[in-house]
Symmetry: C2
Subunit: 188 residues, 2 copies
DNA sequence: AAGCATACGGAGCGGGCGCTCCGAATGTCA
DNA sequence: TGACATTCGGAGCGCCCGCTCCGTATGCTT
């Protein structure tokens, strides 16, 4: 919980950000199997620098994920703040799916990281789930979301859709998302 | 296309099958990243034997996939032969999803193998797509499947559902599949 | 400007991977 | 049963990976 870390030197702070951005890009289009060397090269720094800022490849991956999830938390909260939450939910879901498709699969990343229960990762994950829970509840109340689905189902569908869209041929992607999300709407 | 290969010695044929089965099991619960050593160990043979039968790890993976896809082709054709095709389609889809969940993700495997267009793999893949196409067309005619989805969408949804179900907590899995497959039904 | 703590780069280490190679073992056929 | 082609096992090769270590370079403070 403490935030007692000494302020980084200017170059160190700059390099940390470069590495983080490079990692996001590299893992995005080469998969999480991409080597740390590759990340260092893309960031324009030595490997040593990468490992000083992120002591482990897994830690680097986690940092990237946390960054992205923070963004999603904001998006979810923004959607919840809108007057037409019921509609906004689907906008949020499409947004997440589109983002996962363009970059790397939301799920692989989420599942791939070995989820240690005590950590920043777990904390942000909880925040995200909580934010989604609000959305789900409100949307169900408004009748735009099936009554028999909870956060678990919505998240699972999200993960599935992210993969589906990555797999579908370009001209079928939009329709695939529509079809899957339609499954979340009440029937009738 | 030729089938001019000399008949294998009895032990060779037996070992080939053992390796194939072991590979299916190992890749299933350790992921495609599992080492060839591990497969050899599980099959009770030396690594040399594995590589004689399948000259490359990729070839081994492909063989496993082909085997599984052959099974799916039969299932799809069986479903198409039933009088209630419209209903049978969904049974088929659930079957595939369940199988992918228990073993390894249909999609990862399918996408993971570097799809060389000329080969047994591509051939079986075509057969499977063709079989599914028949199902899709018949089901649409019967009105149990949305009119605006084609094979691409159905396969993509299948892939997505396979991942979704692997990600969902146990008690939400059945419901997740239901939700996703409902997206394929006509709205009404 | 000088001195010091901090951060940098990249050669190199240990380890695991896919794959090869060949002497030993085994099935096959006369 | 003997002789031979086939197949087997697993030590070992080269490669790439994550990660460490330390001499050098750089930013900060006085």
């Amino acid at each position: 919980m403490d935030e007692h870390e000494k302020p980084l030197r200017a170059d160190a702070r700059r390099n940390r950000m470069r590495v983080l951005e490079a990692a996001e890009a590299v893992f995005a289009d080469q998969g999480v199997g991409a080597s740390t060397q590759e990340v260092a090269r893309a960031a324009g720094v030595g490997i040593g620098t990468v490992f000083r800022h992120f002591p482990t490849k897994e830690a680097l991956l986690e940092a990237v994920l946390v960054e992205r999830m923070r963004g999603l938390v904001e998006d979810a909260r923004a959607a919840a703040a809108r007057p037409d939450v019921g509609v906004a939910v689907f906008g949020f879901l499409e947004h997440v799916i589109g983002q996962s498709a363009a970059k790397n699969a939301f799920a692989d990343a989420l599942a791939g990281a070995g989820v240690d229960v005590s950590g920043v990762f777990a904390q942000v994950r909880e925040e995200l789930l909580a934010a989604i829970e609000v959305l789900v509840r409100r949307a169900r109340d408004e009748g735009t979301l099936r009554g028999d689905v909870g956060v678990s189902e919505v998240v699972a569908v999200l993960v599935g859709a992210s993969h589906a869209v990555r797999w579908a041929p370009p001209q079928a992607q939009a329709n695939t998302v529509t079809v899957i999300l339609d499954g979340l709407r009440p029937r009738g």
